[in-house]
């Protein structure tokens, strides 16, 4: 039986050599006949055919097992076996204020009537904050609205305060701004957007669905499945039983790919899971995983082809993604019962920082942290301050 790993594309030259090898072992003088037109043509056709067939085999391999598939193959596989599809992602929702000048209007506004922009992203009028459509914007008045990004994706999240000032849809005398922060976020972002679900997350959901087979008893993976299904932005879930006296209790800690869970996601998960358990028997509570900022001290050398500001933000993103790839509770150190974010991971993340696909960091000397970051079983690491870092440009 051929092993799974052996199913791989056979390139034309390899196929040709192997065919010639077989013919040779059959005592067929390959050099003589292969020089002829027809024989050589058959060899060429045969090796190309083999190459094509091996591609089909590789494709079959990808379609057959979810863990090795991606893209369309994974989509079909997931739908077929698990009734799952890629999460489509979410629209980002921001808070903006529309102001109507004295002497203009009134204007009657409905959902989708107004498009605003920060110059790079567009947003549509979605709802009235503390009000409802149709909304009459009267002369000399202001009103807060929620606007929804024109497309799904996380690129619509990081909009600077005060940046949304362009009225793409013109109403004479009406201006817009997003200078007011949304509650708890520190920015105008009300609800974060996200892109289409990653292959890894879809595979994880497929895998976790096995744990939902027993409706009478939920295991950790069951809760993890329900949490990921309820909140698309989440990628990490940790479930702990508290062994509490009296009422049984389960705590669910949540985090996204780059940070701890937002309050909306925590509430969403809480509401979803609450529907699945008998609260008189099991008390389930969802929490944002406690975040441990990891401040950096030391020197980071970067290519002078890039600005310090660009490198700073790229390093922060690289660290956030690396921390986000580590499970809640960190990586276990075998034998001593301690979970950590290894220092080597931090250094690697900095060194692997790229801008436009090109590495921009040329060297790292950290004085802090100087060892692995210890985490409790429910904590996550997030990037901390880099104000104590010396950023040194190095001529390329």
């Amino acid at each position: 039986m051929i092993d799974y790993e052996q199913i791989k594309e056979v390139v034309v030259d390899d196929a040709k050599q192997r065919i010639l090898g077989w013919l040779s072992r059959l005592q067929i003088p390959v050099t003589m006949w292969a020089e002829g037109g027809v024989g050589e043509a058959c060899l060429e056709i045969g090796s190309n055919l083999w190459n094509e067939v091996s591609k089909v085999a590789v494709a079959l391999k990808a379609f057959a097992i979810g863990e090795s598939s991606s893209g369309t193959a994974l989509r079909i596989y997931s739908k077929n076996f698990y009734q799952h599809d890629y999460g489509k992602g979410e629209y980002a929702i921001h808070r903006v204020t529309l102001t109507c000048a004295v002497g203009s209007g009134p204007y009657t506004l409905n959902k989708g009537d107004v498009m605003v922009s920060d110059g790079n992203h567009v947003f549509w009028l979605d709802s009235v904050i503390d009000g409802s459509f149709p909304f009459v914007l009267t002369p000399g008045s202001s009103q807060a609205f929620a606007v929804k990004s024109g497309a799904r994706g996380d690129e619509n999240n990081a909009i600077a305060l005060g940046a949304i000032t362009t009225m793409v849809t013109t109403y004479v005398g009406v201006t817009c701004s997003n200078t007011e922060t949304s509650t708890g976020s520190g920015t105008s972002l009300i609800s974060a957007g996200s892109g289409e679900e990653s292959d890894e997350r879809l595979k994880l959901r497929n895998s976790l669905k096995w744990a939902t087979r027993n409706p009478l008893s939920l295991v950790d993976a069951s809760y993890e499945y329900f949490a990921l299904a309820a909140a698309p932005a989440l990628t990490r879930v940790k479930v702990v039983g508290t062994g509490a006296y009296g009422l049984s209790a389960v705590r669910i800690y949540l985090a996204s790919a780059t940070n701890t869970a937002g309050s909306d996601d925590v509430l969403t998960v809480q509401a979803d899971i609450q529907k699945r358990v008998l609260s008189a028997i099991v008390n389930v509570t969802a929490y944002a995983a406690p975040a441990v900022p990891v401040p950096l001290e030391g020197t980071i050398y970067y290519s002078s082809l890039y600005t310090e500001a660009a490198v700073r933000s790229a390093v922060a993103l690289s660290l956030a993604l690396r921390y986000g790839s580590i499970k809640i509770g960190g990586k276990p150190l075998t034998g001593i019962g301690t979970n950590v974010v290894p220092l080597s991971d931090i250094v690697d993340a900095i060194q692997d920082t790229t801008i436009g696909g090109q590495r921009c960091v040329t060297g790292v000397k950290l004085t802090s942290p100087s060892s692995d970051i210890l985490l409790s079983s429910i904590q996550i690491a997030v990037p901390g301050s880099t104000s104590a870092v010396a950023w040194v440009a190095v001529a390329s």
Binding site: W22, S54, A57, K61, E67, N206, L218, G246, R251
Partner: protein
């Protein structure tokens, strides 16, 4: 395939392939290629599809990851494939006694003849039902810790796991389980349980226990000679059930 080959040989073969220079060699090469292609497709279909009965090591590992049933160290491929084959049932009983014990059996921690019969624990008397205790060699049992003073509450979401490597000879074996006085220290079922198995044990508990519960203790009872021996897992960090919350 044979019919097609005969048909091609008799009907499709052009004159140059019958009589020309290198005709035989050309036919043989094409024939070989055909066989190789057919074989490749067949094998890829056999090994690649989710047919756990036919899959190889590499495919089994991937299927196991997807079904959340990692292969135990030293587990034979045939045994593992059978476990993957029964994944549907395994997960149907996750969070229940049968789910935990079924995986323990697969890990070699409870042999097949250790039937899945469970003793009932009498909360009033603090003892096991004698009749069932004689039959129960491998158990997931509730574990009651003293109540919080003044609250009248007991922790009822914890359990102990009792494993025996041989038939207990008396109900007393089971009666000892909840007593801290029974910790003997070193011997683990006559040294029949390996470190790998203990790791597997920990993993099974973590994965298949009900979320709200905590496995307070794993007890190994060796009763070949009629004397029960127990081990308190807290003495062994690698088998202390994980999941104890840190707040």
């Amino acid at each position: 395939m044979t019919l097609l080959r005969d048909f091609a040989w008799n009907k499709l073969r052009p004159p140059w392939m019958k009589y020309g220079r290198g005709a035989r060699e050309t036919w043989v090469s094409l024939d070989l290629i055909g066989d190789v292609c057919a074989d490749l497709l067949l094998r890829s279909a056999m090994t690649g599809m989710m047919l756990t009965a036919y899959c190889s090591d590499g495919a089994a590992a991937l299927i196991g990851k997807e079904r959340r049933l990692p292969r135990f160290i030293g587990e034979k491929l045939e045994t593992y494939k059978l476990r993957l084959w029964n994944a549907w049932e395994a997960w149907e009983y996750a969070g229940a006694d049968a789910g935990i014990l079924g995986q323990l059996q697969a890990a070699g921690l409870a042999t097949v003849q250790h039937a899945l019969k469970f003793a009932s624990f009498d909360f009033d008397t603090g003892t096991w039902g004698a009749s069932s205790a004689r039959q129960a060699y491998c158990k997931v049992v509730p574990y009651v810790v003293p109540g919080q003073e003044g609250t009248g509450q007991h922790e009822q979401s914890s359990f102990v796991l009792v494993l025996t490597s041989a038939s207990p000879t008396s109900p007393e074996v089971m009666e000892c389980v909840c007593s801290d006085d029974t910790i003997c220290g070193e011997a683990v079922c006559g040294s029949q349980i390996s470190i790998d198995q203990l790791e597997a044990l920990n993993s099974i508990i973590e994965q298949f226990k009900p979320s709200e519960s905590i496995c307070r203790k794993v007890c190994f009872a060796a009763a070949d000679d009629g004397a029960a021996q127990f081990i308190d897992t807290s003495a062994y960090p690698y088998i202390v059930p994980r999941g104890t919350p840190e707040f």
